[in-house]
Symmetry: C2
Subunit: 460 residues, 2 copies
């Protein structure tokens, strides 16, 4: 820390020195943050534990409960000022990998790669058989009407558009089929629904994800792989009356008590100004919830671990929150915000990492750019000597789990990462540790820690 001494001396020598010394100090700290994040930080080890020791962490499952204890134990080991749990009541949905979708092709059974959609209902132990109605848009259901849909199985088959440069936008433009398709098909009398998996890849992996029923219309709903969606479409073209059989073993149980987990370093000067970093602890039960969102949890924990290792004493309160139940209910995000509001807390900034552990590209932010631009400029200028690394800041959303905090009028920020590979893995059995690159993960943690540092130094 010799440099700090030099800066202290400079203060008495230079007129405009305060800003200068601050910025140089910042550059020093941010370089230290990157050095630690890329060499000694526990980010990857946290993720390894979540993926391999804990495994999948579907809300309400034993894995989710183990995950809560895993992160709590690891946060406690950091010697923070406070580690605690926040209760929430989560949906408890399960399936047992016995679901099946098959086609009868000239008397031969062709099985399709499938998985039930999150929160969906079962086929009540029976196999549902019927004709398939293929549609590309929810609107098509009105055009077809009850006459053509009733008693049949609706197949939503609009691909994610690979020509959109943001795969997130491509996902957003296709996912209505999965979220609202099943309940809408049910209103027109369909007895089951199949949905093409949400990915631009053509492969054999089925992608799960939440479906949202209204209170009345609930029919079994499964995703099939994109390769099988193309195959099914071809078969329908050959024979519009081809028969499909659907079996789903999904089950909904009573809601369960679960928890989000919080670790906190108390601020010295402005303890009531909270800076939050977070990700979600729950995952789907396929794979290990590595990129979604083990990486966001590991990075958020690493922010505190890195600051503690540097013996950094924050001015403001820095809190790591691992939210429960982002995937199928958001119970954790909602209960955390409610408790925080009840306590009269003020989150001046909340940073969420839930886009996968890929190379960071920047941050999206709910604030007007003019509000945040000075901080961003500082950040970006500071990265320049670090070999032309670029992080952008753009107006945009923060994230699902931190959105409920918006009434506190702080700034909500999302870590934006390279998104080329995310939807190859998203909600599949391939979302495992082996598909996370350690360096990419660590770069994200370093970016988050740097931003937390700057917000802590300068406030909002």
């Amino acid at each position: 820390m010799n440099r700090n001494l030099i800066f202290a001396c400079l203060i008495v020598l230079q007129s405009n020195v305060f800003l200068f010394s601050q910025n140089d100090d910042d550059a020093f700290y941010i370089k230290e943050i990157y050095n630690y994040s890329l060499s000694d930080a526990k980010t990857y080890e946290y993720l390894r534990g979540l993926c391999k020791d804990v495994g999948p962490r579907l809300s309400g499952s034993a894995g989710a409960a183990t995950g809560v204890e895993y992160v709590k134990t690891n946060l406690e080991a950091l010697n923070l000022d406070r580690v605690y749990k926040v209760e929430c009541m989560v949906p408890h949905w399960e399936h047992h990998n016995a679901s099946k979708v098959s086609l009868d092709i000239d008397g031969k059974e062709m099985q399709l790669n499938c998985t039930p959609l999150g929160n969906s209902v079962s086929t009540n132990g029976k196999i549902i058989t019927g004709k398939i109605i293929e549609v590309k848009h929810l609107d098509s259901l009105e055009k077809l009407g009850k006459d053509q849909i009733e008693g049949n199985i609706v197949f939503f088959n609009r691909p994610m558009d690979p020509t959109l440069l943001s795969t997130g936008h491509a996902y957003g433009a296709a996912v209505d089929q999965r979220v609202y398709g099943p309940t809408k098909a049910a209103k027109f009398g369909a007895k089951a629904t199949l949905v093409r998996s949400m990915t631009t890849l053509i492969d054999d992996l089925p992608h799960t994800g939440v479906t949202v029923y209204d209170s009345i219309y609930k029919i079994p709903a499964l995703a099939i792989s994109t390769k099988d969606a193309e195959y099914l479409s071809d078969q329908i073209e050959k024979d519009p009356n081809v028969q499909i059989s659907v079996f789903s073993d999904a089950e909904n149980f009573e809601k369960k008590l679960s928890h989000s987990v919080v670790g906190e370093i108390k601020g010295s000067d402005f303890p009531d100004e909270i800076i939050l970093v977070g990700g979600h602890l729950d995952s789907w039960d396929l794979g290990e919830g590595a990129h979604d969102d083990g990486t966001g949890c590991a990075q958020s924990m690493a922010v505190l671990e890195t600051l503690k290792s540097m013996n950094y004493k924050p001015k403001r309160t820095i809190r790591c929150v691992l939210f429960m139940n982002e995937e199928n209910g958001l119970a954790g995000g909602l209960s955390y915000a409610k408790q925080s509001n009840d306590l009269g807390e003020k989150h001046i900034a909340a940073i969420e990492s839930d886009g996968g552990g890929f190379t960071p590209r920047g941050f999206s932010c709910t604030a007007e750019e003019s509000v945040f631009i000075e901080h961003f400029k500082t950040l970006n200028t500071l990265f320049e000597p670090l070999e032309s690394y670029d992080l952008y800041l753009k107006k945009g959303g923060g994230g699902a789990d931190i959105n409920p905090l918006k009434s506190q009028q702080g700034i909500l920020i999302g870590l934006r990462v390279d998104n080329a590979r995310y939807f190859d893995l998203h909600h599949t059995a391939a979302d495992v540790l082996e598909n996370v690159n350690q360096r990419e993960l660590e770069l994200g943690a370093a970016a988050m820690t740097s931003l937390v540092y700057l917000i802590d130094q300068y406030g909002i």
Copy 2:
């Protein structure tokens, strides 16, 4: 192409319309380029063929010769104006995977993961055994002197620095050990050399790569994996006299005739102004030469394929060059430049892709920024409506194969990609198709094609 008609009409209506219509036209074309690149282009198929049908393509090997025919056949299928080969004499070095490095630990033989360095000599059918001298820097050899080095085996063990944000810079700061270490150790009487593999990962993969001998001092030289380098270092600390055995089956043969391959679309207005896109066809013999540099070849071929598919008629001559022998000699780059100079050709721009098929981040360019900034601005502005995709342009190198063209005083440009994962795979058995992401590869091809389009439209 209705938009073109609209623009034509606008020209008579608006005063400043020329620029406006041009820019809008550009946006249209660039969006078309991205659409094609991300859906129908053959980029991934070209790469699949190079990796799986051809396989490794070490200069002078049968694989390299097959590679030449593979790309020539595929370029010919594009109905270009010209496809031809350019001769070069390449080194012919081989090894046969029987090399071995082992330690004698309490009478037990511990094998280390190793591979001979490119161009290195063999142990002449014998096993060389001796004491190990571990050093971190080439300078250390002078300090130790002939007394301590002669008759021993020198082990270069300076890790790549993971805290440098550019892994390329980290590689550049460590690779002197591999390139110049062996011949320098030989000058001090060492009888063999081991070099820690060039990666920040700690794993079992040995990374090969070229070593450069002077004309006299040649001793066997092998890379060992980083995990084994750490293990070896630990063993030396325990017992400085620990014995190591080294066997290398590397062989150097007479130079061989080989070829680079060129495909060309003739320009309509300025046929003498050449815009080059290229990568290198040769690879190391571990893995499949996927990221190094099958991806650059596939992208360069895809530039022509995309322009042909759009029925684009370039004003300038656009040439795809697949260079032979970048890895251990640069014979292809040198002979191509010589032939081009002899013919009095003028390359106004040359774009090389040799950083792996990862998400593009921008281009580095030998020109002063002021010269190129207008083109870049145009490019970047045009990307904006395409969902905030950002490509930077920075001053920097073009690439090894196009550097010999610099006497023609055109601009040399390198595609810069996300480099977090490159050195996990570089020069190893893991550099295979399965470790290339199709979308990342295609985004690079789209960026290259867009830049070629803009240079063709506006010149330099």
